[in-house]
Amino acid sequence: MLKLLQIDLVKLKNYRAFWVLNILYGLLIVSIPITVMEFLKWLKLQGADFDGFDPLKIPVLYFPDIWQNIAYVYTFLKIFLAIVVVISISNEYSYKTIRQNIIDGMSRIDFIKSKLATILLLSIGSTLLVFITGMLTGIIYTPNVEFAEMFTGIQFVFAYFLDLFTYLVLAFFLTILLKRSALTVFILLLFTPIEYAITANLPEALEFLIPYFPLHAINNLIAFPFKKYWFQEIQDYIAWEAVLVVVAYIVLYVYAIKTKLQKSDL
């Protein structure tokens, strides 16, 4: 498995788009908390008045709120990494190197493993970056940091990992199906509006199906957290049902990729 990862990394390390997208993604992750705090400071400077409440005291980036908040916001950036995955796989088709890899002595399963290994590495790397950014931001901005509070809600970092990994495997599956990068990215971008349009118009009798739609399943991992700042109930835990549905989807995608690849002439 490690050898297969090394092979895929040789292919990616020297590919410029890979670095451009990764660095862009990393910069966004690091810069969002800074921007939010600077924005709140600016609001205060402008004399914004929340009924006499200091905007800097809104605990968006304080432990323990921070984990769910940043995990939720960062999931919107995953399209950057999805494009990395789409390009890395569609290139193999357009250069016909997938054919050559197999002629040279890879099995189709090896090929899938090597791409999954890269996806796993991207997901782990990104999760680590989120963890470090969250930790530092929390330490910097939380007044009176308490050690116990630092790790409360840390499970949302894991939810972020699962969310990202599932989405990237979906991107892998779509690329194997469509083969062309531009088309796949286009479909990936349209996926959310189309799925939400469908679920919004679902007859009431079928509404119980909504959590099982591919993107709803992923999005259900981390619930929208900001309602609590206008004093509404939020779901501040990860539902096990959501985790199960997502894991089932991962298995389904990988199985579909395997079936499709083994059936096709390259």
Partner: protein, 299 residues
Amino acid sequence: MDTVLSIKNLTKHYGRVKALNNLSLDVARGNVFGILGPNGSGKTTTLGILLDVINKTSGEFAWFGQPPSKEVRKRIGAILETPIFYPYLSATKNLQIVAKIKGASVENIDPVLKRVELYERRHDKFRTYSLGMKQRLSIASALLCDPEVMILDEPTNGLDPQGIAEIRELIKEIAKDGKTIILASHLLDEVQKVCSHFCVLKKGNLIYTGSVEDVSKGAVTVEVSAEDDDLSEILEAYEGSTKVEKDGVHHLVSLKEGKTATELNAYLFSKGITVSHLNTQRKSLEKQFLELLAESDNA
């Protein structure tokens, strides 16, 4: 016979098109085996199936007596019509990928690059290479793991004369090591020059298989000229000839099977004729090939 490749009833359908129909073949160790056939006869499909990039419809094949697997493919070097590499990677990086897949040592990379004279350009991107250089990188890649079998699909397509000569040299060199070579080509001359055995495919059907030597066996025709006016009559009188024709300046003598130009020359000399021109025409593979295709049309 030590069989390297054994194919049984291999069939491939693309929808209703039969790209390959019930092909059975054996290739022995050390053979230089040519697969001949016009365009679209199923040569590339066959090689694609043998290399596991095309799924067969039915039938079986075995490499080294084993069912096909990735381990088996690692012992095969393949040079296909178009060299396929990552265009944005250098020669060295591309070969690193191949070496890792094949389980070959990365220390082999520099020597093989030197052997195909790409060492100076090893850090340049593949996309900057000329076709000849790309094809040489294919060779380097095939040589990385010291393969037991070499598969070449139209390896000289689009190459300049120097490139063609290089590939030919390479084939001969590899064959000298006792390695098995499978060569798909439509260049008959090429196959006749390097191959020991060959088969002919047409529209997915096998229409002939045999050794190249056999092609040139059988009755021969000899071209004769001499400065003697009676030559025609004397040739007609020769009991070893079946037919004498005048073809421009030469006489074409068809000999009975087993008779050779030596015997004909001795006969003429005994009649007091010294020849000024004597040339045995071997049946060329090209002629045989066209005959085979014509026969199969009539059948």
